[in-house]
């Protein structure tokens, strides 16, 4: 029998054992964002006609939380295992590189979805959405968590120290997330930055996910889906290539 379920279970148990840090804290952070931004901007900004700013903001916050937590799950688990040396227990097991990938990815996706659901649940008090487009919602949520979960595996494998992982997070993930339309529509940007935003894959994730809630978006949700799926395939291929070669894991 395969060792994949055990590795997946271990990764799930790992984040569940510190649920305050891995689930509750990001939900509270998202709630604070909502309170502050909606308080300041609700009366001044209306991004889409007929859509209140808070209703615009919530899907962005849910998606941002999912992205950051899916990335954190796989990357922090791997860097901790590498730094503490207990990665050896996984490496001596009869697990293929594909099983390794699927277990870490699966747990990252679950954590992303749990945090996303948590953020949505607490923001429901402020913005009780009517039935969203479930298909778009699930497609974008899964793809977003999978892309960032896979990117987290790459970062966790590549980083040799905690500060290298922090650099990856602060100089790549955070700017991509913040500059992707969580708090604004890219149509409010100058033309040049609108063009730049279209090269940011996170923009499509947030835009498409928001479409599932409010039925309006900056880009065609089908195009966003295609770009997101392409990103997932490319990052997964890179991750699998690294795992297969044993890069920074097996000497």
């Amino acid at each position: 029998m395969s060792g994949l379920p055990a590795l997946f279970y271990k990764e799930m148990l790992r984040f569940w054992k510190v649920v305050v840090q891995t689930v509750v804290a990001p939900v509270v952070t998202a709630l604070l964002y909502l309170l502050i931004f909606s308080h300041v901007l609700e009366a001044h900004v209306q991004v889409y006609p007929g859509v209140a700013y808070t209703a615009f903001l919530v899907p962005g916050l849910v998606m941002m939380s999912m992205l950051q937590n899916a990335f954190s799950n796989s990357s922090s688990s791997l860097i901790q295992s590498k730094m503490q040396g207990n990665i050896v227990f996984v490496l001596v097991a009869p697990l293929s590189y594909l099983e390794f990938f699927l277990a870490y990815l699966g747990a990252a996706v679950i954590r992303g979805l749990v945090v996303g659901a948590g953020v949505w649940a607490v923001t429901w008090v402020f913005v009780p959405f009517v039935m969203p487009h479930w298909g778009w919602l699930l497609a974008y949520a899964l793809l977003a968590c999978a892309i960032l979960g896979a990117l987290g595996i790459v970062a966790g494998i590549w980083a040799e120290k905690y500060d290298q992982l922090a650099a990856f997070q602060n100089f790549l993930i955070l700017p991509l997330t913040f500059l992707s339309g969580v708090f604004y529509s890219i149509h409010s940007l100058p033309a040049f930055w609108q063009t730049v935003s279209h090269f940011n894959p996170v923009f499509y994730l947030i835009d498409g996910f928001r479409y599932a809630f409010v039925g309006q978006s900056d880009a065609d949700p089908w195009l966003g889906l295609l770009v997101s799926f392409g990103c997932f395939v490319a990052i997964s291929a890179l991750t699998l290539m690294l795992l297969r070669s044993g890069y920074k894991l097996r000497h």
């Binding site: 060792g3 279970y9 148990l13 054992k17 207990n86 996984v90 490496l91 097991a93 009869p94």
Partner: protein, 299 residues
Amino acid sequence: MSAAIHVRDLHKRFRTTQALAGVSLDIEPGEFFGLLGPNGAGKTTLISVLAGLTRADAGEASVMGHDVVRDYRQARRALGVVPQELVYDPFFNVRETLAIQSGYFGLRHNDDWIDEIMHHLDLTPHAHKNTQALSGGMKRRLLVAQALVHKPPVIVLDEPTAGVDVDLRRSLWAFISGLNREGHTILLTTHYLEEAEALCGRIAMLKAGRIVACDTTRNLLRHTNEHCASLRLDVESLPSGWQARVQRDDDGNWRFSFGDYTELENLLADLRGAGVRVRELHLQEPDLEDVFTDIMQRA
């Protein structure tokens, strides 16, 4: 029947260091085999290649007939490795750690065996303790337990008693020896040569990535025929002809190194002839440390 461990012409280079320079070795099933060598000799690299933690540049390695690269799943199922470093996952308790490790090997319902290992390694009272809260000795036991969860026929112990107290060392060796009697093949690396001498039936010595000696422990001990006698005499000087061969140590004893016992007989006869009385006589047989030192100096 396949060798428990088969290694042929293994090479591995880390940047400027040639860690393995053509190592060939066969360990038969059921052997208690020692791998000795100074730091940096290549012992851990060899073990890492067997465990799949390191990829060799050239050569082949197999465990119970399963190639460690082509047939890695079967090779890893046949191997249990106790790593040198005291590593643990601080997120889990002892039982969770062992259950998870079993799961990696595809074993879902392994509680009976986990209970048995914990019992033998005295881990049962600590089953629900977080691994972080275990003492160093207990962490070492947990590493041994983790290596055994999938009942591997071949067990590799990489310096398992480094920094371990006497009680744990004894109980650990009693347990490992029991596993060996049950048919498990044991590969041991250690810097405690008296342990290797007492436990291992066969020993290989590595230096700079090459095997410089590989034989039964008994034959290795015969490698040097240098014996030493320590004598306490009631005189201050020796009969003529012996001054150059017998040295006096700081305690006032006379030390005589010889290859053949007739040399000792001749010395004693000359002492008796000169009227010298021997108050004490101690004979020191060569041990593995002498052999190891000698081989390492010559290699």
